[in-house]
Amino acid sequence: MSEPGRTAIELTVNGETRRGEVEPRMTLADFLREELRLTGTHVGCEDGFCGACTVHLDGSSVRSCLLYAVQAAGREVHTVESLAGPDGELHPLQEAFRRNHGLQCGFCTPGMLMSALELAQSRERDGAAEPPDEAEIRTAIAGNICRCTGYQGIVDAIAEALRD
């Protein structure tokens, strides 16, 4: 039996137009990693449970393992690689993670950052005046599993970044 057919797609990733030819069954996560070599997006379960693959699609966080790349055609995707500045200077969230030991092995980290980013952006949109309390932060990242840190450093990092 011959290999399954491919579909041409075009989408915007981290502000750049990217094209590819993909099997419809290829997930966005695999497309980013294997075709675009953006390996910062990690795959930890392919079931939607771990959150390691979290990216932003048209400005909201999604599981890139539960989205086929063909579905992202014409859409705008942001990955962890979009956070740091052109010379590698860390995003305030990344800087806070670094200062607060918000990571150990780093595998969950990209997904954590993208979930934290959504929290930061949605609070900005809503014009939230008070910084989020610990419970709100924990709820925002509860879909991202970290096996290493016990979450404390991550929660501290996000609290610090959203305070400043």
């Binding site: 290999e3 079931d47 956070l83 740091a84 670094r98 092995c105 709820t139 991202n144 599993i145 979450y151």
Partner: protein
């Protein structure tokens, strides 16, 4: 002090195993047994090979190799060889039977579905107790009980005969698993010209893996290079040499192309090693005043389908038995140790290996004894604690130093134990039941050969390190123990920088590649890196510093003892004008011919072997829970730990280790369990059913520190990293037991059986 490699990982620039690509690389998918126990017939890959993109289907017969055998030398332990791919018999659901190589992982999965395998199902053996008793079909010739032995210390019979109270308990420690967020995986590439095999592998012990590979694949170790890239969590699961990794190495050689295998989550939960399951019976003899007179135990380890190649079927019950007395001054102790095979995924190390279940069983026994005697459980513990050091335990462990009582008292004070424990009867209607659990621990750390020996374990430990300075003055420290996120590079670099007197950013620590690093037979495990490797680096740095001082003395025209090296500047004491840079000193070592006449060996490279004596960390974990007894919902309100791991090099890294381990312990107490159906099929094959703690399941963790430097190790360091995994389950379990005591519910297994609480609250039996 922040980690040196953090920025790279935060930007998404890490290189994990799944990020590695080689030219012409094929993707592997294993065909795994759907049966827990079956005779294996023919494997037919014909239909799979007919798919475009499928390159090969390989079964055991396609690459002859030596099976994996456990490396432990303990008398009376029967060995159970495990082939890389099953032949003749499959012994657990998920055991690899064949491997399909294809153009993509998706295509390999298409192929794997089409491989036809003949199975003749056999009855599965799932109950370790029945297996030990000889019931059910044998997994191996000679029966399912692989080991029976005992520890006897002092006069146990006498102690029990003299007792005023005897309290006994049973505990079924749950089978759970490390579940690193990055599952296992490897890439193998064979160079037919040189005959060299390169293996990138998500592993904790590259050198051990190289040796195992050499034994099974039949290549000399010199022809095998193992590289551990960034590892996305390991916790013990990546210590063993895995059957799949052997198969991938063989497959790459067989097809002459690089092959990558990335384990998916289903495979990881199904076929990666499980951990910790033990069935424990305990009995405590007490005097009327609460003094512990004697302790008896029987520990049965459920080893799963093979005596694991890296460790053996004994890894759980044997280590459990050795530490059973814990922080208590028990002299009269006996323990029967058994290990049986069952049709489940084999058991291998996971953080706190062996110790978690034994510790929990003992602490729950003490809780029960306190309730029986009507005394405060914390006071009962304090009364029986070891309080003078060094102390040789009745099982032969030399507790070097510690703050057992001080840590307990500190923990009680910080949690406000007295307040919490005062006048607490049954909760008011509609109010949650509150409970507090105290779990003081001692943790063997820094395993070298002495530490292993004190745990009566056969464990090959041989570690050397190398520090080199290049002509530019840059320092490279090469170690055989890679990091899986503990931040070892940073901590080790600090030790080197301190030892040499140079700036931290001048030091680079390399690890993980057998081609460029000195051997560490054991790798990163057993809370040993700081003590063993850090100790070796401190010694090597001292030696190298002396060399630098001699060269500098020559350059500056001074005596070596007058040379001072500080923050990378070299100067003569009392003469600030005479100074040099480290670069000038290093350049002289390499390029100054005149130096050679005075110093025949000016090389700036020092290797050092180190095998420190055993050391023991200690501390106390306290948990406070609220239980909604009507629904069984348990909320962990507070989690507090007092840690004493001697001298600390990098407090932030230590705290990270402690917190991570604590939360893994909480998972084991409240959520995590590998489940099998009666047919031996796994029921916990995704992260919905295998529940890891989320951010909302744990409170802010409260950490406090005591410091009892080890009198035996370099700088007084002790290891850290497992205490929470050992002690937190007991703290949480004891807290729940405390909360539901008014209902007459005992905790006899973990994770907490909420069904029993709910039934008792409804006034019914479960």
């Amino acid at each position: 002090m922040a980690r040196l490699d953090a920025a790279r990982l935060l930007r998404g620039q890490g290189h994990y195993i799944a990020d590695i690509e080689r030219v012409g690389m094929l993707h592997a998918c294993f065909v795994r047994s759907p049966h827990a126990h079956a005779r294996l017939g023919a494997v037919d890959g014909g239909a799979a090979l007919a798919l475009e993109g499928v390159v090969a289907v390989l079964a055991a017969a396609d690459f002859p190799h030596r099976p994996l055998l456990d490396s432990v030398r303990i008398e009376g332990l029967r060995k159970t060889p495990q082939p890389a791919l099953a032949s003749e018999r499959v012994r657990f659901q998920g055991e690899p039977v064949a491997v399909v190589l294809a153009s993509s992982r998706a295509r390999a999965e298409d192929g794997a579905e089409l491989v036809r395998v003949e199975y003749e199902p056999l009855a599965p053996v799932l109950d370790a107790e029945a297996a030990a008793a000889g019931a059910g079909p044998d997994l191996f010739e000679g029966g399912n009980l692989l080991y029976r032995g005992e520890i006897v210390a002092g006069d146990v019979e006498g102690a029990f005969a003299a007792a005023d109270h005897v309290v006994s308990a049973r505990y079924h420690g749950n089978r759970y698993a490390a579940v690193p967020m990055e599952a296992r995986g490897c890439v193998a590439e064979h160079d037919p010209g040189s005959g060299e095999l390169t293996l990138w592998c998500s592993t904790q012990g590259p050198h051990q893996l190289r040796r195992r590979r050499s034994q099974t694949v039949g290549l000399p170790e010199s022809h095998i290079r193992v590289i551990a890239p960034d590892v996305g969590g390991a916790f013990g699961q990546k210590i063993p040499a895995h059957a799949e990794e052997v198969a991938i190495a063989l497959a790459a050689r067989a097809v002459g192309r690089p092959v990558r295998w990335i384990e998916d989550r289903l495979e990881n939960l199904l076929a990666a090693p499980h951990a910790k399951e033990q069935l424990i019976e305990t009995e405590l003899a007490l005097a009327a005043d609460g003094t512990f007179l004697g302790l008896r135990a029987r520990i049965l380890g459920d080893a799963g389908a093979y005596s694991h190649n890296s460790t053996s079927a004994l890894i759980e019950p044997y280590l459990s038995a050795g530490l059973m007395p814990g922080v208590y001054a028990v002299r009269d102790y006996s323990c029967e140790i058994l290990a049986a095979v069952t049709n489940k995924s084999p058991v291998a190390p996971y953080r706190g290996v062996g110790w978690t279940a034994g510790h929990t069983a003992r602490e729950l026994l003490i809780e029960k004894a306190a309730r029986h005697l009507g005394v405060d459980p914390a006071a009962l513990r304090r009364r029986n604690m070891v309080d003078a050091f060094p102390y040789e335990s009745c099982t032969g462990m030399l507790y070097d130093s510690g703050s057992y009582v001080a840590s307990l008292d500190r923990a009680l004070a910080e949690i406000g134990y007295e307040e919490l424990h005062r006048d607490r009867g049954a909760p008011a209607v509609g109010e949650p039941a509150v409970g507090v659990g105290v779990s003081p621990y001692v943790e063997p750390t820094g395993w070298g050969s002495d530490g292993a020996l004190q745990s009566r374990w056969s464990f090959a430990s041989h570690d050397s390190v190398r520090i080199e300075i290049d002509p530019s003055g840059a320092v490279t420290a090469a170690v055989g123990t890679p990091s899986q996120g503990q931040g070892h590079e940073t901590m080790l670099a600090q030790i080197v920088a301190d030892g040499l007197g140079v700036e931290l950013d001048r030091v680079r620590v390399v690890s993980g590649d057998t081609a460029g690093t000195p051997i560490s037979t054991a790798g990163t495990r057993a809370s040993r890196t700081a003590v063993v490797v850090g100790g070796a680096l401190a010694l090597a740095a001292e030696e190298l510093r002396a060399k630098l001082e001699r060269i500098a003395a020559y350059l500056l025209g001074a005596e070596p003892e007058d040379v001072r090296i500080e923050a990378g500047r070299v100067a003569v004491a009392g003469d600030p004008d005479r100074e040099a840079t480290l670069r000038e000193v290093a350049e002289a070592a390499f390029y100054d011919p005149a130096l050679r006449a005075r110093m025949p060996d000016p090389s700036l490279s020092v290797s050092r072997f180190h095998d420190p004596p055993a050391s023991y960390a200690n501390g106390c974990v306290v948990a406070m829970v609220e239980v909604d007894v009507e629904t069984g919902a348990v909320t962990l309100r507070r989690l507090l730990s007092v840690e004493d791991c001697g001298t600390v090099v990098n407090p932030a890294l230590v705290d990270g280790q402690v917190r991570g381990a604590l939360v893994q312990g909480v998972g084991g107490a409240l959520l995590e369990q590998v489940r099998y159906g009666e047919d031996g099929a796994l029921l916990s094959g995704d992260l919905r059913r295998y529940k890891l703690p989320k951010a909302t399941d744990v409170p802010a963790i409260e950490l406090h520190h005591e410091c009892s430097p080890s009198p035996f190790t370099v700088n007084g360091m002790k290891g850290v990293g497992e205490s929470g995994a050992i002690a937190a389950p007991a703290a949480v379990a004891a807290a729940v037991a405390d909360a539901v005591a008014h209902l007459g519910v005992e905790i006899e297994s973990l994770p907490i059986d909420t069904g029993r609480i709910v039934a008792a609250a409804a006034g019914e039996g479960s």
